[in-house]
């Protein structure tokens, strides 16, 4: 079926690269001034979710696959990073008639290793989920990813190492490469910013590579792409794994920022949040997910005293976006200025 998600990013022409460069400069400037004006933890949270939304956008915006289970990667990476940074020991289940645990007692890991572990686990989970989910398209894909992430939510609820309802609390941020003390808010902010920018640029690189062009071709017309000789299954699987990995990176980072990994991170509401951020910012735009993430996080922050109204407002934004505002904030802006953003 032909997709009607509007490709706001057209072929990279000169005008587009100009507008992208300007927008990128504005974003860097805002993020550099940010910590002097706004509470740094808020900014770090928004950056983690921006990366999460960009990773999600890689799938929905450029391959046309809507995953309702991205909390799975975000949350599990966050658990693994928190566990590695706080406890460190590895246990493997072995089957000798009954399950026994082989425990390798390791010291708590440094932040870079912890993040690597979390991200790697997200990649592996992404592969497992992707193999199952890409067998169906469209709405089935959404239902399957949602169901699989709910399954992993129950695993997280029952597994011992996740701490159940309590989560993993008091995760030490540690020293990055043994040099930079991340318990300092400014240092942590710079670290989060660097990781975010690396992830952001990587995604930009992916969508403008030959690989990315094939992904867009699959979004526009999968049958035709197959007839041109591409094994679309493989491309979709790789895109899914990349998206899951980057979502995991965002989750790992988030658990170090808040020094906490909890069930909230793996719950389906988290998957809903990232869909909302991307939709509100603009599906298939480069900067949309970042703008959407900042708006949604700010909203959750400032509307928190109003309790359940946050849920109502978020739902209403979904409805308004779908009915009247399908390009999202950045998509509408790009349309207005007639440039690619």
């Amino acid at each position: 079926m032909e997709s009607s998600i509007e490709p706001s990013v057209l072929a990279a022409n000169r005008e587009t690269s100009w507008s992208l460069a300007v927008a990128f400069a504005v974003m860097i400037a805002a993020l550099a001034i940010g910590p002097f004006e706004v509470y740094p933890v808020f900014l770090m949270k928004a950056l983690c979710f921006s990366l999460f939304a960009c990773a999600f956008n890689l799938l929905i915006g450029y391959v046309g696959l809507i995953s309702f289970g991205h909390a799975l990667f975000f949350g599990w990476a966050s658990y693994l990073t928190a566990y590695a940074a706080k406890v460190g020991s590895l246990s493997f289940p072995f089957w000798f008639g009954k399950v026994t645990w082989l425990v390798l007692s390791l010291p708590p890991q440094s932040p870079e290793v912890s993040i690597l572990i979390g991200t790697l686990v997200a990649a592996i989970l992404g592969y497992g989920t992707g193999v199952i989910a890409i067998r169906r398209q469209g709405i089935y894909f959404a239902m399957i990813t949602l169901a699989l992430s709910q399954m992993m939510y129950f695993f997280a609820l029952q597994a011992k190492f996740t701490g159940g309802e309590d989560g993993i609390q008091g995760v030490p941020r540690g020293r990055l490469f043994g040099i930079f003390d991340l318990s300092d808010e400014k240092t942590m902010y710079v670290f989060v910013l660097v990781v975010f920018l690396a992830g952001f640029l990587l995604i930009y690189r992916i969508i403008n590579s030959p690989f990315g062009e094939v992904l867009k071709a699959i979004r526009e017309n999968e049958q035709r792409t197959i007839s041109l000789g591409y094994r679309t299954e493989r491309y979709k699987l790789l895109a899914f794994v990349l998206s899951a990995t980057l979502a995991g990176l965002a989750g790992s980072l988030n658990s170090l920022v808040f020094q906490l990994a909890s069930l909230t991170d793996v719950h389906w509401t988290m998957s809903g949040d990232v869909v909302l951020m991307t939709l509100l910012g603009g599906l298939g735009t480069v900067f949309g997910p970042v703008v959407g993430a900042f708006v949604v996080i700010a909203m959750q922050n400032y509307l928190a005293p109003f309790g359940q109204w946050v849920l109502v407002i978020q739902g209403a934004i979904f409805v308004v976006c779908v009915l009247a505002f399908r390009r999202g904030i950045v998509g509408e802006l790009a349309q207005l200025l007639r440039v690619g953003l």
């Binding site: 929905i60 193999v131 169906r136 709405i139 709910q150 389906w268 809903g272 849920l311 109502v312 009915l323």
Partner: protein, 295 residues
């Protein structure tokens, strides 16, 4: 009392009964989803919230108007179904020409709005709803104790499912419906008001969800989030069954409820996840689902 595979019969049949009860709800909800999907090509993410609205309708009718269970069984589905008709007219009909993903996003948002509103006014704790007098108590079948209300839920749900199957597959109206699913333009040319049929179909699917909600109210407590977790399991059921056939949706619903009940007996840790695991296996072996048409 006797034992089967080391499990006392009371426990085994008790869990199987619970499984059948859950299966009744899976069947009713996945049936509604399948009917709506057939006509509108939309997966109704609001379904869980509408199931919850059905339970709340029963609760509110009793609290404020003194209307009991039996009347609620009829009134609640009609009222909630009417809200479904409004939703279709206001929102969904504008999405017909768009990618089905937008319908999914919109109904997901609507679900959030409804759940948020109910949480605002009624909190997140469960509200009790009494079993109607006529169905209090139960009977001893020798090998197990059967509460009357639970037997009623299974019988009613089976009856409603089969009636729906009959209406869709064996009546004149049903044949219009199936024809309109295949080719709406041609059916319109025969002078049948297809848009109205689509609207009413959505209302009917929503009504089924609300009926399940009323039936669930005396078993589980009435609470705003009662639908959201259930609906994810129902999605897995729908994926396993495939949405091609009405009978498939009914059978898969009941069968998976039973499987879940059995898991509770033999390996309780996995009872929350067994349906999802089955879904993954089915997708690997038969991607279009057990009863689905291969896409």
């Amino acid at each position: 009392m006797f034992e089967i595979l080391g499990v006392p019969s009371q426990a085994l049949f008790g869990q199987l009964l619970l499984g059948l009860i859950n299966g009744s709800f899976y069947a009713l909800l996945s049936l509604g989803l399948a009917v709506i999907f057939g006509m509108l090509n939309i997966i109704n993410f609001t379904h869980g919230a509408q199931y919850m609205m059905g339970a709340f309708a029963a609760y509110l009718l009793l609290q404020h108007l003194g209307i009991g269970y039996w009347e609620a069984l009829v009134i609640a589905p009609i009222v909630v179904g009417a809200t479904g008709v409004v939703i279709e007219r206001l929102f969904l009909q504008h999405l017909r020409k768009l990618d089905p993903l937008y319908g999914l996003l919109l109904t997901f948002g609507l679900g959030l709005v409804i759940e948020g509103l109910f949480r605002n006014y009624y909190g997140s704790s469960g509200l009790p709803y009494q079993v109607p007098d006529l169905l209090r108590g139960g009977r001893n079948l020798g090998f197990m104790f059967l509460p009357n209300y639970r037997a009623w839920v299974i019988v009613l749900s089976l009856a409603v499912c089969l009636a729906t199957w009959f209406a869709v597959e064996r009546t004149r109206l049903g044949s219009y419906l199936r024809a309109a699913t295949e080719n709406p333009v041609l059916v319109r040319a025969f002078g049948i008001n297809v848009p109205r049929m689509v609207t009413l179909t959505y209302g009917f699917g929503v009504g089924l969800a609300a009926l399940a909600g009323v039936m669930a109210a005396p078993i589980y407590n009435v609470s705003p989030q009662m639908g959201s977790d259930l609906i994810i399991v129902v999605f897995a059921v729908v994926v396993i069954g495939g949405m091609g056939s009405i009978m498939g949706a009914i059978l898969t619903g009941f069968a998976l409820g039973l499987v879940e009940g059995l898991t509770k007996v033999f390996y309780p840790e996995a009872s929350n996840t067994v349906i999802f695991v089955i879904m993954a296996i089915v997708l690997l072996i038969r991607p279009s689902g057990l009863f689905g048409r291969s896409a």
